[in-house]
């Protein structure tokens, strides 16, 4: 599903060039749950931004399925992301002035879908995530865990093939974190490919594969026995 070949990313500050990704080669198959780990500054979030098509400044080859992302212009990349990628943030990034339902509707509103269809999809996801009762509340009326739940609902409402999560439980206490990770596993089981960035070994165990980065270089790429498998 995802194929990166020799992807590199650097930032220029004056005469200095700082590399954050070096010759990254990575293949992610459909249905995988990949965890990207590494110390701070290793390039985890940078790699996630490349995968999310939020960053245009990289070099190398990037295939999304049969689509050569490296040959697409900015607009085409944005369209691809709109259709096939969902994003979950550590700080949830819900919009304060929108209700839960409106926040979830946001990605659909950018897709030129009929309002009726959108309302149906939002209702379905509210039901699926069991947050129907909260649909008219504003983000500041929710707990952190509830906010992230809404963040995930918003990320998957348009049924993306790839779900990217950047430290999704970073701001949550352990019980809430476990619930969120269970939700990810459930989504993964239902066929969504997931790539998460985390520092947490416990969270990593929910995935099927760990990719470790150090100073921008991939240093480890291995399959893990997931928590589910362990439990079995």
């Amino acid at each position: 599903m995802i194929d990166l070949k020799n992807v590199e990313r650097s930032y220029k500050t004056g005469h200095t060039e700082t590399w954050v990704l070096r010759r990254v080669g990575l293949t992610i198959r459909e249905g995988e749950f990949v965890t990207i780990m590494g110390p701070s500054g290793a390039g985890k979030s940078s790699l996630l931004n490349v995968l999310a098509l939020l960053d245009d400044g990289w070099t190398g080859e990037f295939w999304f399925g049969e689509t050569p992302v490296h040959r697409l212009n900015r607009k085409q990349r944005a369209e691809l992301a709109r259709q096939r990628i969902g994003m979950v943030f550590q700080s949830y990034h819900l919009l304060d002035d929108l209700t839960v339902a409106e926040n979830i509707d946001l990605p659909l509103s950018y897709k030129n879908m009929p309002t009726k269809d959108r309302a149906g999809m939002v209702a379905e996801i509210l039901d699926r995530f069991q947050i129907v009762a909260k649909k008219d509340l504003y983000p500041n009326q929710l707990s952190g865990g509830q906010q992230q739940l809404v963040g995930i609902a918003r990320a998957v409402v348009h049924a993306p093939q790839l779900l990217l999560a950047d430290e999704p439980t970073g701001n949550l206490h352990s019980t809430q974190a476990r619930e969120i990770m269970e939700l990810f596993r459930e989504l993964n089981k239902q066929g969504t490919t997931i790539v998460q960035v985390t520092h947490s070994d416990e969270n990593a165990r929910y995935g099927s594969r760990i990719l470790e980065l150090r100073d921008g270089w991939p240093t480890r790429d291995e399959q893990v026995l997931s928590a589910a498998t362990e439990a079995q």
Binding site: D55, A78, Q90, H93
Partner: protein, 839 residues
């Protein structure tokens, strides 16, 4: 005290720290405060200031009511402001309630000093003029009652202070020397005091002569001996109330005297109806009114334009205050942590408020100083635009005095408090924990709402000012393009008065004739002609006529405009001759009298222009002076000003008058009339060095002069609205730029969730569009409402003129779009990756 000094020091440091911000707010305030100071300079002089004389509150003047039938000449205002000399003497001598009464009149004359001739305005005054006003001379002496003894017996002159300074270099040696006035020698006896111009408000005479010397400056008054004539009214009377006497008491006390004097005057009328007698005596009243500001017929005309301009300047300063408040609030957000820290360290609210007010006050003070530097320039432009006087003799000064200084400081203080309130309120309820936790301050919802309202108010005020300015500009444009009944292009004009150079009647018409012939020879001049009654100058000459075969009603006034014109006058100004002929060289003294009338007159008295030809008319005594035969009818024209058509007019041949007056000369040129100006001066000088070419200008310049209030309103309103628009744009930009910055994270999230750049731009603009639409919706009806109040200032444009209003909206919206462009582009360029990297 130490605390105060510390706050001032800190405030100065704050201002120095952000020079860009300081410069922006100071320039904004300087523009608003400077404009206000400038308008107030004129407003104060024209409408508020008292005469610079001793106890001005004791001064009163007179106005009468009732009928009158005689000769009236004025320098503005209604006839009921003017009195005859005999009436003046009677009132002065027989009243019990005044310390004294003075008489004065405006005159024009030719002054000659060391063979340098010039035409200047002056005043004929009673001998007690300066004494009554309590004035002391700057040099020599002022008049006394000994200078008003008998007709032509007092050839003495007091110089106006400004004229003395300008023409004689403030030399005291001029006292005792001779100044030629209309060719007659006058001894300069003294100079009026500094700061005093005249008892007539807004008038700056070059000289004062005793009223007994009236016939020197107005020889025609001598012909009917107006100093003894009860039926010639031309003097303004000013009195000083005796101590303890009120105006009401004075008026009541004067009533019997007034009625007896009027009853006597009635006996001087050869015939009159009973109704006229009732109006003339029984129903007539002498009103005693306040004159602490001096009588000024212009004051009424200036009042509305000045109030409009003052209001516009007030709106402008309000916009400045709002704008500065917005800018201060933007900065306040950046200082949130500083203030939170101060509170956390124990600062009390009062102290924080005081510090912010001191900062505001300092900004206001610097803005006021910068505004005061700007004000004289604006005031000078305003004075020259609105007074239509020749350079150097403007009745108002652009000088900034103590009163203006106080006014400016008051405006600055009010504005400072107003714009400081916003940041003070912003910091009164700090959320310490939240503010200190954040890396940078964020705007509260209250301050965001304030900024939105502020921007809305600024947009609304801009639309209002632009709409108002648009109406005034259209008025001016309509006035300039109005059909005046003749062709004002390619016309040059000037005043020529051989009488003021000392020439006797017999020489005056010869001199005018020679001048016309000499001027015709200038290359590029097609034709030349003259009139005694200049076109579009605001002045008129009305005489009472008798029309043969027409029986006037009991009180019907057959007063008609009665200019004397030279042959070829109508061809020169291109006023169409409808029937008959123009005057020719044959229409001279001793020949059968001819007259030309305008269309309105012909229709009113004869039914049609054709019927008027051959009919007879006179403005004198038919038995003594005979009748004039109508030989032609010309089209109607505008004469006094650009707004109103002249009613009935009877033109008479200039060269048929045995006692001719000075004339206004008109030259039609093939090319630009301006280019003929130097040739005109040279030609007249070569013809006779004693003749003075006065007020040489094109007819189009004259039209702008007669519409000077409209010109001033249009230009200044445009200037103010341009400034207002600029301020609204800057304010709008500030708010949008700031709110875009505040929304960077939101925009980043939206982009990350798939929003297109165009939808982000829409997001940023939508808010502005909503504010702009609401502001416009409020502003448009307000303009229409306000413009209705100013209807008298408009010409051929309605207060709700759709083109003007839509134009104002379009220009404002254009500026809104311009102001929004950069923040919108910046919003569209937000990199979601960076915007979200705040965790």
């Amino acid at each position: 005290m130490n605390t105060l000094m510390q706050d001032v020091r800190f405030a100065l440091r704050q201002l120095r720290k952000s020079p860009g911000f300081t410069l922006t707010v100071v320039v904004t305030l300087a523009l608003g405060i400077g404009a206000n100071a400038a308008i107030f300079t004129l407003f104060d002089q024209a409408l508020l200031r008292m005469l610079p004389v001793d106890k001005p509150k004791e001064l009163v003047r007179f106005e009468w009511t009732g009928a009158f039938n005689g000769s009236e000449s004025s320098f503005g205002g209604d006839p009921d402001n003017y009195f005859s000399y005999p009436m003046y003497k009677d009132l002065k001598e027989k009243n019990q309630v005044f310390t004294d009464i003075l008489a004065t009149d405006r005159v024009g004359a030719g002054l000659s000093w060391h063979n340098q001739a010039e035409a200047r305005d002056g005043e004929t005054v009673s001998g007690n003029y300066f004494q009554l006003l309590g004035l002391h001379p700057a040099a020599g002496r002022l008049f006394t009652s000994q200078d008003e003894t008998a007709k032509d017996a007092n050839p003495v002159v007091v110089l106006g202070n400004e004229y003395w300074k300008g023409r004689f270099g403030s030399s005291r040696d001029v006292v005792g020397q001779t100044l030629m006035i209309n060719g007659r020698a006058f001894e300069i006896v003294g100079v009026a005091p500094e700061g005093f111009d005249s008892a007539i408000g807004g008038f700056k005479p070059a000289f004062f002569i005793p009223v007994t010397m009236l016939y020197t400056v107005h020889p025609w008054r001598g012909l009917r001996d107006d100093l003894k004539n009860h039926q010639a009214i031309y003097l303004t009377l000013v009195a000083r109330l005796k101590p303890g006497v009120t105006r009401e008491q004075a008026e009541a006390s004067l009533a019997p005297l007034w009625h007896s004097l009027r009853a006597y005057e009635l006996t001087l009328y050869k015939e009159h109806s009973e109704r006229f007698a009732k109006h003339f005596v029984d129903e007539s009243k002498l009103k005693v009114i306040d004159d602490s500001q001096g009588f000024s017929p212009n004051r009424g005309d200036l009042k509305t334009p000045l109030i409009v301009l003052m209001s516009m300047a007030g709106l402008l300063v309000a916009m400045c205050a709002i704008n500065v408040a917005t800018l201060l609030l933007l900065r306040a957000s950046a200082r949130a942590r500083e203030m939170a820290m101060r509170y956390a360290l124990g600062a009390k609210r009062g102290r924080i408020a005081a510090q912010l007010l001191i900062e505001g006050g300092l900004i206001g003070l610097v803005g006021a100083v910068a505004g005061l530097l700007l004000a004289p320039t604006v005031a000078h432009v305003l004075v020259s635009l609105i007074t239509s006087a020749d350079p150097g003799s403007e009745p108002y000064s652009a000088h900034i005095d103590g009163r203006i200084l106080l006014f400016t400081l008051a405006i600055a203080l009010v504005a400072s408090v107003l714009f400081s309130i916003a940041p003070v309120l912003h910091f009164l309820k700090p959320n310490l924990a939240a503010t200190l936790r954040q890396n940078s301050g964020t705007a509260t919802k209250d301050s965001q709402r304030f900024r939105k309202i502020a921007v809305g108010v600024q947009i609304a005020l801009s639309v209002m000012l632009l709409g108002g300015a648009g109406l005034f500009v259209r008025t001016l444009d309509n006035l300039r393009n109005t059909n005046v009944g003749f062709a004002p292009d390619h016309l040059l004009e000037f005043s020529l008065d051989p009488g003021s150079s000392g020439y006797a009647d017999s020489h005056v018409s010869r001199s005018v004739q020679d001048s016309i012939e000499a001027l015709r020879r200038i290359p590029g001049v097609i034709s030349v002609a003259a009139t005694t009654d200049p076109e579009l100058s605001g002045d008129g000459t009305t005489n009472g006529f008798q029309v043969q075969g027409y029986k006037a009603g009991p009180d019907e006034n057959l007063g008609m405009e009665s200019p004397q014109v030279t042959p070829g006058y109508f061809a020169t100004i291109k006023q169409p001759l409808l029937v008959g002929r123009e005057f020719t060289d044959a229409d001279r003294v001793g020949q059968p009298k001819a007259a030309i009338v305008n269309l309105t007159m012909a229709k009113k008295y004869f039914g049609s222009p054709q019927n008027a030809i051959g009919r007879q008319i006179t403005d004198g005594d038919p038995e003594k002076d005979g009748w004039s035969t109508i030989v032609g009818v010309v089209g109607d024209s505008k004469h006094l000003d650009l707004r109103t058509l002249l009613k009935s007019a009877v033109y008479q041949p200039y060269f048929a008058d045995e006692h001719p007056n000075g004339v206004e000369m008109y030259l039609r040129t093939t090319g630009d009339p301006k280019k003929a100006e130097s040739a005109v001066r040279q030609t007249i000088h070569a013809l006779d060095a004693a003749l003075v070419v006065d007020g040489l200008r094109t007819m189009e310049e004259q039209m702008d002069q007669v519409a000077s209030h409209e010109v001033a309103l249009a230009y200044l309103a445009m200037g103010f609205s341009a400034l207002a628009l600029l301020m609204a744009t800057v304010g709008l930009y500030g708010v949008l730029a700031y709110s875009t910055e505040q929304r960077t994270r939101e925009i980043g999230v939206r982009l990350a969730l798939g929003a297109q750049r165009s939808s982000v731009i829409t997001l940023v603009l939508r808010e502005m569009v909503i504010i702009a639409v609401i502001a416009t919706a409020v502003a448009l009806p307000s303009i229409v409402m306000l413009a209705r109040l100013l209807k008298s200032q408009l010409f051929e444009v309605t207060p709700a003129d759709p083109v003007t209003l839509m134009g104002a909206v379009a220009v404002t919206m254009g500026m809104v779009a311009l102001a929004a462009l950069l923040p919108a582009r910046r919003a569209a360029a937000v990199e979601p990756m960076r915007a979200l990297r705040t965790e």
